[in-house]
């Protein structure tokens, strides 16, 4: 028998069932004006991740995790490929268009390969916090989350200022946002409920959610859904085309391209990214920018 409490609805009210952010409809908001009359802010985020060989997978195994019995050299090295080879192909593809990425970096990658993060920073890429590694997810009841966040940011901030955060596998505890705000983080990329930034309440401060899609993501489409590279191309282009069209009447939009260097950085896949970027960049009014630049412009351009 189920308890009668099951039929009580204490948070049944207008708007959200929590106080983290306000209910707000995309179409009903003021138009946002990007710098120089741009229509689309292009935001490319190739993640640098490390899946440790002794991965425990708590409280779940994110996409791309190790799979076989220990030692799973197969998946360990396939993921490590991204930090060693794949990311350098992405750099070339972005350099061709003068696009600066926002690069979510597991702090462990920065500790293991400081030259790689220096290379990203030297390109003017924005360094975004991405937790410690792919085996340190954030979850309710985890130990020492505050220390984990502080340690991760301390490592990354030796390379550059860090204003943005993407939790590994977009995982959060109830406290994550509050702790991030306390550490001076301005925006977070974990929530996938909007196409534009919006404010969140975080421990007495305001944090902004940035629209880092989990849908038009190379790993989601190619690995998760088993669609092929031509589908990835079509879906990214279709996503852009709709946003571009909307921007004619609804104000500036953001085109996110979330990537994984171990996925899109493969020789047979990098051309897909090049094709998509060529399509996007041939349009008038495309502004390639980092997450922090987009957030600042959104605030200045009537979003906040």
């Amino acid at each position: 028998m189920i308890s009668d409490d099951y039929l009580k609805y204490p948070r049944r009210r207008y708007g959200m069932d929590h106080d983290r952010y306000e209910w707000s409809m995309l179409h009903a908001r003021a138009k946002v004006a990007w710098p120089n009359g741009a229509r689309i802010a292009l935001w490319v985020t190739p993640a640098l991740q490390w899946f440790p060989l002794d991965q425990q997978g708590k409280p779940f195994k994110p996409l791309g995790s190790l799979q076989t019995a220990y030692p799973d050299l197969r998946h360990y090295t396939l993921r490590d490929y991204g930090n060693r080879v794949g990311i350098y192909r992405i750099m070339k593809a972005l350099d061709r268009h003068g696009i600066k990425a926002s690069v979510p970096v597991n702090a462990a990658v920065a500790a293991r390969h400081p030259s790689l993060v220096r290379e990203c920073a030297a390109r003017g890429w924005e360094i975004v916090g991405h937790g410690l590694d792919m085996d340190h997810l954030h979850y309710e009841g985890m130990a020492e989350e505050e220390t984990l966040i502080a340690k991760s940011l301390e490592i990354l901030r030796k390379f550059s200022p860090v204003r943005g955060w993407l939790s590994p596998a977009k995982s959060e505890s109830k406290a994550t946002l509050d702790l991030l705000a306390k550490e001076g983080i301005d925006y977070v990329c974990d929530w996938v409920n909007d196409d534009m930034p919006y404010p969140m309440k975080a421990g007495g401060k305001t944090l902004y959610s940035m629209p880092h899609s989990a849908d038009v993501d190379d790993a989601t489409i190619l690995i998760g859904m088993h669609h092929d590279e031509d589908e990835l191309r079509d879906q990214l282009i279709d996503h852009f085309d709709v946003l571009y069209e909307e921007s004619a009447t609804q104000g500036g939009r953001i085109m996110p391209i979330p990537l994984h260097s171990w996925v899109i950085g493969q020789p047979y896949r990098i051309g897909t990214l090049e094709t998509v970027l060529a399509h996007i960049m041939r349009h008038k009014g495309v502004w390639p920018a980092t997450g922090a630049e987009i957030l600042d412009a959104w605030k200045a351009g009537g979003g906040a």
Partner: protein, 304 residues
């Protein structure tokens, strides 16, 4: 358990020493058919279940057996028409079960390297002595049935212990196909001896493409061409390696073989391609570039 296998240092895929393949080739291209034997009733392994269905798994077993009865011969002829020698990733028990296949490979000048004894005998949990016995079996069986010295290794069903690669090097083998971190060969850090990793590519592996990624036969042909085009272009800077690992039970199906053969012919139709075997690629790298690559590599920092 180790967090990092500690098998290689960091060498970013830019500004590397220039590899020059024989004849001015930009890509060293090799095809690695996995000639395998899966036992109908393998002994139980504490770590991995051999068949998804209860014994006898008639479907799983007979699907693999198709490769040896039918698929191999179709695949061999397609390769022969394109002038490509195979580097056989051999479960050495095939020498006893199906000597006709071994003979056909020997007659065509194909190389044999070891993929363990059976694809249903995993190296997980083995003692060093057990591993040594298994490796020695491969050395002896390949010598006896093919006259060849055993130079290369690919763990049976990609199974390992922490010691496997150390032991393989100690016992005189010179290259491994077990690491998927790169598109060029590289030094492997082992206890004793000198071991080279050569790219075997799971991404181009027919089993990964068809069984894991659900690629169609024509799409498989497309991504082979794309992989080649990229590695061919990049090889002008420093020679790359492209491998196509095959499984006769998959690629040897009538509905798949044509699209594959067309892709193979596309590759062999280029002039700056070195059609090589695993041993030849490893030897050329080890003799000419191993030291330069080791010297250019950066130590991996400690992850917190």
């Amino acid at each position: 358990m180790k967090r990092d296998p500690g098998l290689y240092d960091y060498l970013p895929y830019q500004g590397r020493p220039k590899i020059e393949w024989p004849g001015g080739a930009q890509v060293a291209f090799w095809v690695a058919p996995n000639i395998e034997f899966y036992e109908l009733e393998p002994p139980k392994n504490p770590t991995r279940v051999a068949w998804p269905r209860p014994a006898p798994d008639v479907h799983g077993y007979s699907y693999r057996d198709y490769g040896n009865r039918a698929g191999f011969w179709r695949m061999m002829e397609a390769m022969e028409r394109c002038g490509v020698r195979g580097s056989v990733s051999l479960n050495v028990a095939v020498c006893d079960h199906h000597p006709e296949i071994i003979k056909a490979c020997v007659e065509r000048g194909w190389e044999f390297y070891s993929h363990g004894t059976y694809n249903t005998r995993y190296m997980f949990n083995m003692s060093e002595d057990q591993e040594r016995a298994l490796i020695q079996d491969s050395i002896d069986t390949i010598k006896q049935h093919t006259g060849q010295r055993l130079d290369g290794w690919l763990g049976p069903a990609l199974s390992y212990t922490e010691n496997t690669l150390d032991l393989v090097a100690e016992m005189g083998l010179t290259y491994i196909c077990d690491l998927f971190h790169d598109d060029q060969p590289g030094p492997v850090k082992v206890r004793k001896g000198r071991l080279t990793s050569i790219p075997y590519s799971l991404e181009m592996n027919d089993a990964i493409s068809f069984v894991v990624n659900w690629a169609t036969p024509r799409h498989y042909g497309d991504i082979i061409r794309r992989q080649f085009d990229r590695l061919y272009a990049e090889g002008a800077e420093s020679g790359t390696v492209m491998c196509i690992p095959l499984h006769p039970y998959l690629i040897g199906q009538p509905y798949r073989i044509k699209a594959f053969e067309e892709a193979l012919a596309y590759i062999t139709g280029h002039d700056k391609v070195w059609l090589a075997t695993g041993r030849e690629i490893a030897r050329h790298f080890t003799e000419n570039y191993y030291d330069a690559f080791a010297k250019a590599s950066l130590a991996v920092g400690e992850a917190p």
